[in-house]
């Protein structure tokens, strides 16, 4: 690994000042992505290899899960293991805890942090390969468009770069209308998670809406309406230690058996977490039964425009949406002949 300077501020203010004073510095939290990028020398004309890393691990204010008024505040340094194990998240924000538990491997979840997880770079193999200078590194084209794109490339809203956002937690947090809190030289600001991620059309070089000198300090979750249930489902190449080929987070608010509000957010299929608004429309205002779920799943993938070799992700995503909805609504998997509207296995 190329040598770098490591600085360890003790407060958010100091960290922001350091970042602002050292353009191009990297932000080091768990290091599970950043150090890999350093070791693999992922760099290009518009992507210099950071020579300075600002280590956030000595900033205690960034850790932990607390209640702040009506909102739950997840500190940016909270590890993925802590999120996966937190009783409050598990009971009230099930999809968030489930998504955290599906990330990587136990080792990665113990090291990886919420903030780092949201700011991780794409898994596109061209982006990470030394021999290719792609759009994200300041090159002039997306090699994946015509190249190898079976696994970690978009079926929705791809282009000019066809990356997918790799985060498992982002869809789950977005399903609960999460907000991101950011600290920067002018002070703190908050923005909806949905606006935190940038589409490559806006700027192919960055995936998140952080200005120079800014860093994520927390993610805030509003209290979900009563009667909300949720689930997260993820498909990968093997059983563990893999990013999502596709993932689905759903949050459904039921009132007397009728779906009042639905959130269906897809991961691993678009450059940003993808809100399947069509599926939400199918669900809202009706009593979800097997047929509704199937229609919602079909609607979720209606707008898909796959590349040459990743059309299977449409079928995969459709299946995951149906399974996630079934799980959220408490239909036992594979169970046939349930009383009520459930006649088939879900």
């Amino acid at each position: 690994m190329k040598a770098f300077e490591l600085v360890s501020p003790r407060s958010v203010g100091d960290a922001v000042a350091l970042l602002a004073g050292k353009p191009g510095a990297g932000v080091l939290a768990g290091g599970t992505d950043l150090l890999g990028l350093q070791k693999d020398r992922v760099q290009g004309p518009s992507l210099p290899l950071p020579g300075v890393l600002v280590n956030l691990k000595r900033v205690p204010a960034l850790r932990g899960i607390v209640k702040e008024g009506e909102r739950i505040v997840l500190g940016a340094l909270t590890t993925l293991s802590q999120l996966a194990d937190d009783p409050l998240l598990r009971s009230r924000f099930t999809a968030v805890a489930e998504a955290a538990a599906e990330v990587g491997s136990p080792q990665l979840r113990n090291m990886g942090t919420l903030g780092g997880h949201l700011c991780q770079r794409p898994r596109c193999a061209y982006f990470r390969h030394r021999q290719f200078v792609c759009l994200k590194k300041g090159g002039d084209r997306c090699h994946a468009a015509e190249g190898e794109h079976r696994y970690y490339h978009a079926i929705f809203r791809g282009g000019p770069c066809h990356m997918v956002h790799p985060s498992d937690l982002a869809p789950a947090l977005q399903a609960f209308d999460a907000t991101v809190r950011v600290a920067g030289p002018p002070g703190e600001r908050e923005l909806p998670l949905a606006r935190f991620f940038r589409h490559p059309e806006e700027d192919p070089l960055r995936e998140v809406a952080l200005d120079p000198g800014e860093l994520v300090t927390a993610v805030l979750l509003p209290e979900p309406p009563p009667g909300t249930c949720s689930a997260f489902t993820k498909a990968r190449v093997r059983q563990g230690w893999q990013f999502a080929l596709a993932s689905v987070a759903v949050a459904i608010t039921l009132e007397q058996g009728e779906c009042r509000q639905a959130r269906v957010i897809l991961g691993g299929v678009a450059p940003t977490p993808y809100r399947a608004a069509g599926a939400e429309t199918v669900l809202e205002g009706v009593q979800p039964d097997e047929r509704v779920l199937a229609r919602a799943a079909d609607a979720a993938v209606e707008a898909a425009r796959p590349l040459r070799d990743n059309a299977y992700k449409i079928d995969l995503t459709r299946g995951l949406v149906r399974q996630a909805l079934g799980r959220a609504l408490g239909v036992p998997p594979g169970q046939v002949g349930l009383a009520g509207p459930w006649s088939g296995d879900v």
Binding site: G147, E148, A294, L316, D345
Partner: protein, 782 residues
């Protein structure tokens, strides 16, 4: 000329040598085959020094640190085909810490007859362009970026089908078909066989590249001193590396010492030397310092070579009663850019010609050059690919006849090798079928269910070549305190065969395995036990030499005891660890006790393996039975259970044998289900040359049950009765999984691995095919 006798098998008469005659020829005393009641052999002795591995204490060659040692790095070609127009290493050499840079301008050492170590013409992405030695790894890495190379990029052909086209770029300038014509095996007349068949069927299968993914990367530490060259290597065979280095450097073998205390995985990829060995040795000679050159993980995928991707077209003719009349098997294998290892790309031999009774067989292996790295041996080379295709095709033939695929295989069972016209020294495949089918609960027809999740059973036969007549030596030294030292010229490659070899010696001498110590993994002071541990043959090759050495020190010991007691040597017997004198009243005496009383200077003997009895074919057999579950909605395939029955002769160590079977099955499940390189179609560069994206199975991917059923039929071919077991479990697993998936889905995917992508694509094609039921909701499956 040995005495030959006639043996009748399946109505045919063969001339063979009685097995005992061959066993007795070599040793002074002669060795009887072991009987049934054995004390140490067969028991589950835990692997020697196993705790060192799992606690991180084992020392590998990659752990070696020497004073003044330099670190080397390789610069590899980013182009599949290019010429080096200009190369300037001056900026790299100017970097502090950099001691040497080798390029095609300053190094004309040859790699082989075809190319130089650093050639001006580069014929695959990953070929060596330059090497740097520096004081630390960071400086070496940095220096690589400062070597300025100007490439003239030339037209490349990456795909074997394209390479066979008339206008394809020429890889080696003599046509892209290796040898100018396919390799052929022919028996009978396939045209007549197919004409006489009642059902003829053809299918095409494709298999994918598989990498070894060794935990310890390839590499070595090289150091010259007055005595010559010492190389600490990550290798499967210290003696083979020594031979190859000595011959390449034109120095006597005695001036080269190769050490490998432990090797962190080889799977066929660490036999002999690679260009990196020569680079390290040359850099060490030039700088006068020890040089360490181990691959970064991305380059490991180049250094290890790979199992090639292959294509198989199979045509079979069968009678309605299940008799196989003809098999035609055309294989296209990808040889890479050079002749080296080309014959590991494909071969016209093996399972298709041997596994089933079939009078008419034609095999053709089209070995095609492309601008890619050449293949290498990878656990069950060539055979794994052949089994993947053949064993699925056999299932499909059975399907054509509406026959149970197991019954179809039994219908065509054969007891002699049809290719060499010899009886097998042992064959218990029928018992493997029986035990495996019972173990899994094989049933036919199957009911995969109608829901979202389907289940299927699948099976596959296995044949793998056994040990031919090769020499092997082992040295045993019995000390006066009763401890035995075995000196063996082989490397510890992780199979645990050293533990089994200790058991062989302990059994023969009547001592406990704890009393046996090993000198191993070093060419200095060891006999030539094996060139390198490949071909599933270490135990069946070295084991008899170890037994002969132990038998000889036993003879010497008994002679001393007899002399000491004034008895005839013939009157002494060693039974269950006790020396008993016939017709005398002396109490039985342990070996240790006898050594203390009668041995002053250590007793030493070299054991030599006797040759195999003449006239037999030697093969290992097996049959895998698996149950899978497939989620038709998400394409997920999960192996639920695997019952792996193996005929590998006498089992020397049950625990290690079971581990081999489990490890082999799990390793093979990778390329069957999830593991494959991503190759950029434009450049041929591997995009996922890391252990994260190159998805070998993890602990979570291991089926809940992988059960080894070891069918013990001691083999006549050697004095310990063992046959190979390293590769067979890997050879059959993929086809068994693929057959189970086909039975679960009611359709077959003839391309590997069976990823979610392929499963979902196949289900969609089936849904959209003409004749598929109209209006069927997607979530109801196909």
């Amino acid at each position: 000329m040995p005495r030959m006798v006639e043996l009748e098998v399946d109505g045919q008469t063969y001339k063979v040598e009685p097995a005992e005659a061959a066993l007795k020829e070599a040793g002074k005393q002669g060795l009887e085959p072991w009987g049934e009641a054995l004390a140490v052999v067969g028991s589950a002795v835990p692997r020697r020094r196993g705790a060192e591995h799992v606690t991180g204490q084992a020392r590998y060659s990659s752990d070696v640190q020497l004073p003044g040692m330099l670190h080397a790095r390789l610069l590899l070609s980013p182009h599949a085909h290019a010429r080096v127009r200009r190369i300037d290493a001056s900026r790299a050499l100017a970097l502090p810490g950099v001691r040497a840079v080798l390029t095609c301008l300053n190094t004309d050492a040859a790699w082989d007859e075809e190319r130089r170590l650093f050639d001006h013409t580069l014929r695959y992405a990953g070929q060596e362009v330059a090497a740097v030695a520096a004081a630390d790894e960071e400086a070496a890495e940095e220096a690589l970026e400062l070597v300025d190379v100007e490439y003239e990029v030339l037209p490349a052909v990456l795909d074997p089908q394209a390479a066979l086209m008339a206008d394809a770029p020429q890889v080696r300038g003599e046509g892209n078909l290796y040898g100018g014509k396919p390799q052929v095996y022919r028996r009978g007349d396939v045209q007549r066989g197919l004409a006489s068949a009642e059902v003829v069927h053809t299918q095409v299968y494709r298999t994918s590249i598989q990498h070894h993914a060794c935990l310890e990367v390839h590499g070595c530490v090289a150091s010259w001193d007055a005595a010559g060259l010492t190389v600490w290597d990550s290798t499967q065979g210290v003696h083979l590396v020594r031979e190859e280095l000595a011959s390449r450097l034109k120095v006597p073998a005695t001036k080269v010492r190769v050490v490998a205390e432990q090797t962190g995985g080889g799977f066929g990829s660490k036999n002999g030397i690679g260009p990196y060995h020569l680079v390290a040795v040359l850099l060490a000679r030039q700088t006068g310092r020890p040089v360490r050159l181990f691959m970064p993980r991305a380059q490991e995928f180049i250094a290890s070579h790979h199992r090639p991707a292959t294509q198989h077209e199979l045509t079979g003719g069968v009678m309605r009663d299940g008799r196989l009349m003809a098999l035609v098997h055309r294989i296209i294998g990808q040889a890479g850019a050079y002749a080296e290892n080309a014959e590991l790309a494909a071969g016209a031999y093996g399972a298709t010609a041997e596994l089933y009774r079939c009078p008419n067989v034609l095999m053709e292996a089209w070995i095609v050059h492309t601008h890619t790295q050449s293949p290498g041996a990878c656990r069950g080379p060539v055979g794994t690919e052949v089994h993947l295709a053949l064993e699925q095709f056999i299932d499909e033939l059975a399907e054509q006849l509406a026959m149970d695929p197991l019954a179809f295989r039994v219908r065509n069972y054969v007891r002699a090798d049809q290719t060499r016209r010899r009886p097998y020294s042992s064959k218990a495949l029928d018992r493997c079928y029986e035990a495996g089918a019972r173990g899994l609960g094989w049933r036919w027809p199957q009911d995969p269910g109608h829901g979202r999740v389907r289940r299927g059973l699948g099976m596959s036969s296995i044949i793998w070549h056994g040990v031919q007549s090769e020499p092997s030596q082992a040295v045993a030294t019995l000390y006066a305190d009763g401890s035995l030292q075995l000196t063996l010229g082989l490397a510890l490659i992780g199979t645990g065969s050293e533990t089994a070899l200790v058991q062989v010696a302990a059994e023969e001498l009547g001592v406990s395995p704890d009393q046996v110590s090993l000198i191993i993994g070093d060419t200095r002071g060891t006999p030539y036990s094996i060139d390198s541990s490949y071909g599933s043959r270490t135990l069946a090759l070295v084991g008899p030499a170890v037994r002969a050495a132990a038998a000889e020190v036993k003879r010497q010991l008994l002679a001393r005891v007899a002399r000491g007691l004034g008895a005839e040597p013939e009157a002494l017997r060693l039974e269950a660890g006790q020396i008993v004198v016939r017709a005398r009243l002396e109490p039985p005496m342990s070996v240790a006790e006898a050594c203390r009383q009668f041995v002053s200077a250590p007793l030493m003997a070299t054991g030599r393996r006797s040759r195999n009895p003449r006239g037999y074919a030697h093969e290992s057999f097996g049959a895998h039975f698996v149950e899978v579950e497939v989620d038709t909605e998400t394409g997920a395939v999960r192996v639920l259970r695997a019952i792996c029955a193996h005929d590998s002769g006498r089992i020397i160590n049950r625990l290690l044998a079971e581990s081999q079977v489990q490890g082999g099955f799990v390793q093979a499940s990778g390329p069957a289900l999830c593991e494959e390189p991503w190759l950029d179609p434009a450049t041929g560069l591997q995009l996922n040359a890391n252990l994260h994206d190159y998805a070998v199975p993890t602990a979570l991917d291991v089926p809940d049950e992988v059960q080894a059923l070891l069918i013990e039929l001691p083999d006549l071919g050697n004095s310990i009765g063992a046959k190979g077991l390293g590769e067979p479990p890997h050879v059959g697993a993929g086809a068994a999984i693929a057959n189970a998936v086909a039975h679960a889905l009611g359709l077959r995917i003839r391309e590997y691995p069976l990823t979610r992508a392929r499963v979902l694509e196949a289900l969609r094609s089936a849904r959209e095919a003409p004749g598929a039921r109209e209006g069927q909701a997607s979530h109801e499956g196909i």
